[in-house]
């Protein structure tokens, strides 16, 4: 749908996002502060579409399924509760079903975007389109252009820096799909961005390339005005509250960077530990071939170590796929937020400069000229939008990190539980009396 002029939307308001269930809530939907046991309807939808046959690069599991231990959270999600503190959701977006396309010039992956909405901006109640990464990239830059006073969520990294990763591997595709899904959901949840024209086109257009080629300018009023802010003005001092935000973002990004490095280091050490374990276990097996009475106990220990190794591998895989990408995303997020802050500074700088110029002209007309008024208006809107977005962002950030870190703790708990079970199960084997099995005449033992 591409009709009708953009509406005049309330860009701010007490419309802060309540504790919504996080779309990526993993297996641990605990009873937590804010009651996040309400399901995300988006994921409910995903299930009703069915897991169609997937032509995945490595013929793996459909991308839409969540982690195995989530039967309880699945149940949670099935308890549909639309009314969350009186809010009714009228827009649901899901990214799933990655498919590989092999063409003469290139090979790439597309994802299915399914939209369900009762909003009037959508002609049909339901849409299903296919998009690739560069389409998301296009959407993001259009959003930045058209909504410069708002914080636009980040995309997962375009290129894989550490060239070891195969960009068609199941794990990489799944990690990317999750990030793209989150990207769209963040926009969906935003009271202003979700009504953006480009977003609408992205969700509904059969052929996005037509729109891309024509370079249709569908800038909002605000976007249009901010676009014309010339960059030549230098702000003297950032207002306290925005300076505080700037400082916060700086430190925040720094700390996240450190956490990313630590997490990577841990994974590296764990992998090296795993390598040694994989050599360690089999030695017990070799030993058991020399023995009589000790053969079974030694073999048992060998198998046990093997189980622990497998559990460790699962832990490192999970951390690589689920933990690290989210950290990186937030670092990108804070980077883009800092640029928005700078833009805001420019708008204020222009206003102040123009105001000063007027004051210097010493005209006795008390009335402020129209263009200065426009600048002031622009600045005040920007400030309001940004403040509202920051508050929203802070809330979401808190939710996201709570989930992320709880997830990390959970994965470690699961790892230790698997190992515990393995070791506890061989104790009876080790304590068993072997007399009945081995006759006394056995030569070696």
């Amino acid at each position: 749908m591409a009709g009708g002029p953009p509406k005049a939307l309330p860009s701010t308001g007490p419309h802060s996002l309540r504790d919504m269930p996080h779309p990526l809530a993993g297996s641990s939907s605990e009873e937590a502060v804010g009651g996040d046991s309400t399901p995300s309807p988006d994921l409910l939808m995903a299930r009703s579409f069915g897991d169609k046959d997937l032509i995945l690069p490595n013929g793996g599991t459909p991308a839409g399924t969540s982690s195995p231990a989530s039967s309880s959270s699945l149940l949670n999600r099935l308890q549909l509760d639309d009314d969350i503190d009186g809010e009714t959701r009228d827009l649901f977006v899901v990214v799933d079903d990655p498919k590989k396309h092999v063409c003469t010039m290139e090979t790439y992956i597309t994802y299915r975007i399914t939209t369900k909405s009762t909003r009037v901006e959508f002609d049909l109640p339901e849409y299903s389109v296919r998009r690739r990464y560069q389409d998301f990239d296009w959407l993001r830059s259009k959003l930045e252009e058209s909504q410069p006073t708002h914080l636009i969520p980040p995309l997962p990294e375009k290129f894989v820096v550490k060239g070891v990763v195969d960009r068609f591997s199941e794990e990489f595709v799944e990690t990317r799909r999750k990030a793209l899904d989150k990207f769209l959901k963040r926009i969906t949840d935003h009271p202003v961005l979700s009504f953006n024209e480009y977003f609408n086109i992205f969700l509904t257009a059969k052929d996005l390339n037509i729109y891309k080629k024509q370079g249709i300018a569908l800038l909002t009023r605000m976007g249009e005005s901010v676009k014309h802010v010339t960059g030549g003005y230098k702000l003297r001092t950032r207002p306290l509250e925005f300076a505080a935000i700037g400082d916060y973002l700086d430190t925040f990004a720094l700390k996240l960077g450190t956490i990313d490095r630590i997490a990577q280091r841990i994974i590296k050490e764990e992998i090296e530990y795993l390598v040694e374990l994989r050599e360690y276990g089999p030695v017990y097996s070799t030993w058991s071939t020399l023995e009589g009475e000790l053969a079974e106990p030694l073999e048992g220990v060998s198998a046990c170590i093997g189980n622990c190794s497998t559990a460790l591998e699962e832990l490192t895989d999970d951390m690589t796929e689920d933990f690290l990408p989210v950290l990186r995303e937030y670092i990108l997020y804070s980077d883009s937020m800092k640029s928005v802050l700078k833009k805001r500074d420019q708008v204020q700088a222009e206003y102040e400069a123009k105001l000063e110029a007027v004051a210097l002209r010493k005209e006795d007309r008390p009335k402020v000229p129209a263009d200065v008024e426009k600048c002031q208006d622009r600045m005040e809107c920007f400030n309001a939008d940004l403040k509202a977005d920051m508050e929203r962002w802070q809330n979401n950030k808190r939710q996201d990190f709570r989930q992320l870190l709880m997830g990390m703790a959970d994965k470690n708990i699961q790892y230790y539980e698997k190992c515990l079970m393995a070791w506890e199960s061989i104790i009876p084997l080790l304590q068993e009396k072997q007399e009945a099995k081995f006759p006394v005449t056995a030569v070696l033992s």
Partner: protein, 375 residues
């Protein structure tokens, strides 16, 4: 020049039968070299016994955090335990516990070294036993001993491998735990800029510190397991020594039998005048002329004496050999039972250690998760 060495205090307690209370009867100091002397003595006088081994002289199979320094207090303590174990093993051995020199080791501080040397055991020692790689071709090897020697070689090899890898595993595990400590600091720093999230982060960071420091005790416990394995690594060597001794006895027996057989043959040839075997005497006789009948009689007499002696020796050697096999095999059976018992215990205690480590891990991460949930 002064020499620094470590001495160990040995206290012997004897249990009074009447009330079961132990009374301190003897207390003296011994250094490692005296333990070595005791063991070398036992090896000579009890060649058919699998003599308990000493703990390692120098730290081997170390992983980076563990010190290879002989003066390091942890190493000294572990060695002390090993030496105590050595003495307990001897004390609980049905035959070795009765040895006089062992008794004196526990009771006579001064002069003990002289007493041991006076036994002249060094002279009795078969130097060939020290030559580990020298091969003695035995014509009729005892299969049981060959198999046992093969087993002891394999056991040594597999336990060494196990200890080496285990040390590397310990090293890596140490790394994993310690890096988590960094979370403590960064969470603390991060919490400073957060409002609602601050407390949760800060307290979670504390748990990460606890996690990181827990590995020290865990790995120290594991060293005891490694020591138990090491004891049997060295025991394998002792087992091998018994097999080797048997091999040499067998070899000597065969040489003696061969020697006797050739003397008998020589005697027969001299008596009958037929020369079937080459001999220098035969050659010289041919070259320089036949010997006189008197000379021949004299030689036959000498040979007959030697043959008699040889037969006596062979008889006693055979007897000795059979005794050795009987006694050795009895001790080997005893050793096997002990080994199976001990190693099973070691494996159980290792599993218990792992279980404890897992439970600690679950506890810490559960606590951290709780803190995160309050963010």
């Amino acid at each position: 020049m002064q020499e620094t060495y470590t001495a160990y205090l040995i206290e012997t307690r004897s249990v009074e039968h009447t009330d079961g209370q132990s009374v301190l009867t003897d207390s003296l100091w011994r250094r490692y070299s005296e333990f070595e002397l005791l063991r070398n003595y036992l090896l000579v006088y009890y060649p058919h016994i699998v003599v308990p081994p000493l703990p390692e002289k120098r730290a081997e199979f170390v992983w980076h955090k563990l010190s290879a320094d002989n003066m390091d207090p942890d190493f000294v303590e572990r060695r002390r335990i090993g030496l105590e174990n050595f003495l307990l093993r001897i004390a609980s051995h049905p035959i070795l516990c009765r040895d006089k020199i062992f008794y004196l080791f526990l009771t006579q501080e001064g002069n003990w070294k002289e007493t041991v040397n006076e036994t002249g055991f060094q002279l009795k020692a078969d130097s060939r036993l020290k030559a580990l790689n020298a091969t003695f071709r035995v014509k009729n090897p005892d299969k049981r001993f060959t198999d046992l020697k093969h087993y002891s070689d394999e056991l040594q090899s597999v336990i060494s491998h196990l200890l080496r890898v285990r040390a590397r595993v310990a090293d890596r595990l140490y790394g994993v735990y310690k890096v988590h400590g960094n979370y403590g600091r960064v969470f603390s720093e991060w919490s400073a800029i957060e409002k609602e999230m601050g407390d949760g982060l800060q307290s979670a960071g504390h748990h990460m510190d606890v996690y990181a420091s827990s590995i020290d005790d865990i790995l120290e416990d594991e060293e005891h397991y490694a020591d138990q394995l090491k004891e049997y690594l060295f025991y394998a060597e002792a087992l091998r020594a018994v097999c080797r001794k048997h091999e040499l006895m067998q070899y000597d027996l065969e040489i003696a039998a061969q020697d006797l057989a050739s003397k008998k043959q020589q005697c027969e040839e001299l008596a009958t005048g037929t020369v079937r075997t080459f001999s220098l005497k035969g050659m010289t006789t041919k070259l320089f002329g036949q010997e006189t009948p008197e000379q021949r009689e004299a030689r036959i007499k000498v040979l007959e004496e030697q043959i008699n002696e040889g037969e006596q020796q062979l008889k006693s050697k055979n007897l000795e050999g059979r005794e050795f096999v009987k006694n050795a095999w009895a001790d080997i059976e005893r050793f096997k039972e002990q080994k199976n018992r001990d190693l099973k215990e070691a494996l159980i205690s290792y599993a218990v250690m792992q279980i404890s480590m897992c439970k600690k891990g679950i506890q810490v991460w559960t606590n951290a998760k709780e803190c995160f949930s309050k963010m």
